[in-house]
Symmetry: C2
Subunit: 382 residues, 2 copies
Amino acid sequence: MLNFTFKNQTEILFGKGQISQVSSRLPSDARVLFLYGGGSIKKNGIYDQVLTTLKDAEIFEFAGVEPNPSYETLMKAVEVVRNNDVNFILAVGGGSVIDGAKFIAAAKDFAGDPWDILIKGASFENPLPIGAVLTLPATGSESNGNSVVTKKETAQKRGFSSETVQPVFAVLDPEYTFSLPARQVSNGAVDAFVHVIEQYLTYPVNAPLQDRFAEGIMQTLITEGPKALENPEDYDVRANVMWSATMALNGLIGKGVPQDWGTHMIGHELTALYSLDHAQTLAIVLPALMKVQAESKKEKILQLGERVFGVTGIDETIQAVVRFFEDMGVETKMSDYDLNGDSTDVAIDKLIASLENNGMTALGEHGDIDPAKARTILELAA
Amino acid sequence: MLNFTFKNQTEILFGKGQISQVSSRLPSDARVLFLYGGGSIKKNGIYDQVLTTLKDAEIFEFAGVEPNPSYETLMKAVEVVRNNDVNFILAVGGGSVIDGAKFIAAAKDFAGDPWDILIKGASFENPLPIGAVLTLPATGSESNGNSVVTKKETAQKRGFSSETVQPVFAVLDPEYTFSLPARQVSNGAVDAFVHVIEQYLTYPVNAPLQDRFAEGIMQTLITEGPKALENPEDYDVRANVMWSATMALNGLIGKGVPQDWGTHMIGHELTALYSLDHAQTLAIVLPALMKVQAESKKEKILQLGERVFGVTGIDETIQAVVRFFEDMGVETKMSDYDLNGDSTDVAIDKLIASLENNGMTALGEHGDIDPAKARTILELAA
């Protein structure tokens, strides 16, 4: 096992009705940026419940944070925060809204262009505290310090990570996910599954407990994910998917073990260039990456197959992963998607150029996914 | 799944050499109570490493916290704290020392007799912050708010729990466990295993991820525990046992599911009356409790057998649990131990009287372990 430090400061408020606890967690004299996305929370009643719990606070609403939140939109929210002495951000939505809140929190007192936080790793001070009300289980953003933001102007998708912007609390009410569109349910389960894979599918370091936890999350997602599509209002199924997605990326299972994240880095370019859903890009890249990295990942691929899917062999395991993605309704080839009219050959050239431009030239747990290997992966994923 | 709130504030510093991080986690102008037990840390070098990391602090040593820490001893430490304006407690040892530190932290500013914190659930203010350096993986005390203290005068073993006394950091260095006596290694693995059982072996509430995590910890303890006895200086084995014991009782696996704790409550009386090791009492009580509660625990017992031990049937599962305890060198019958010369019949009468005196008359996840049922359990465990 590798050395590690681990702490997770987020208070999880899990279960139906937990929104009522939010008011007691706000600062006194709360001036709250109420941040959300496209407005679905107005249709399913969450919006009204949030207003009720914020009734003693000064509220500044900011709607319209898009999937893959953009620097351009978030900077408008930064202005609202700066102009109104906001002292708390309540992010109501999925990973995009919560990731966006982290950027806003960090940007508030930043002297220069806050994009430097993402592009140069610039440090920041006095971030605002954030609370999260999760409506889409997927990214784990509700209890980690990670944020990914896209600059539309330059088609760059970049991330930063700091425990100082990790939510202080997160409301996880499974009922809030009943009305999600099927596509988001599918994406969420695939996203969470690949988060586990990135921290599991590397090489053995004699860390059996981390392996068991990772396998337990994947087993749960594989069993419960399809049920969430079939019976959208099954509370326990939704609860199990929700808790699995949080545990998949709250830092725990990756402690003491190597991590990969190559699939994510290559996938980010697919989203930045062609606006594919994040989970779609992962479903495209992962099976191909597993094939190309089969030799160095051999032991863990075989363990994944045997323990999680009940199959034997590397090819059989990769096929089982593909089947899970397809069961969740997420296609696994670039040619299954609209690439703005580009052929897959053209797309691959552009993707490799983007990886190189963004310095993503030594990916994976061994740093051995250079642009040539990334090209092989993308060709297999075409 | 049941509703829950979950937060764990302890920063885990895991791995060899992590003691060096302690100095950076102390308050400025640190006045540290350096609390430890019988002095084994002076033989294995931990004592010197602690002094090195505390070199900029004012240190007040307090040695002699015994296994099952006593109110009488701890009150002497409270005096040291009060007389020297101590502002931090560094607890170096196993669960007894860390549990003791929590009582000291809570008692410091308590106006009346601090035993009321345990016996009456009295509230307390301004507890001192605690750091833990773990030398014995077993209780999970290093990252929870639980404390169990024994009053020798009245042979009462009682607990309290508050997140305000949970350690702010915990050093988990597997090398610190190389020199542990075999008996403590055995006890630790059994203790951690039963912690998991108390949160797992109840009735199903459709919480598959919690089940998988619990099973993963038990699988790891069963595989690694005996190896720790065979090869005491195998770093990875020690690391895996240590991390399993912490995860067994840091709050996570018990969230959203029913909990039992009947084995612990009955076991506490065996320790209070006959000074048996905590783990010994658990190994005695659990198999008998499983037999008596077999009907209401049926589904989870069968699941435990199949998933963790690879056996089918209730009796076979109970036997597998007994075998694990025996493999770890811990005997499972009252008659295997010295009960101060009492026959098991006499002992059972005294134990039942103690349970009644302490109000432990409705134990277990259904509250159905009354004194009559506790007697049946103890008779089976005789």
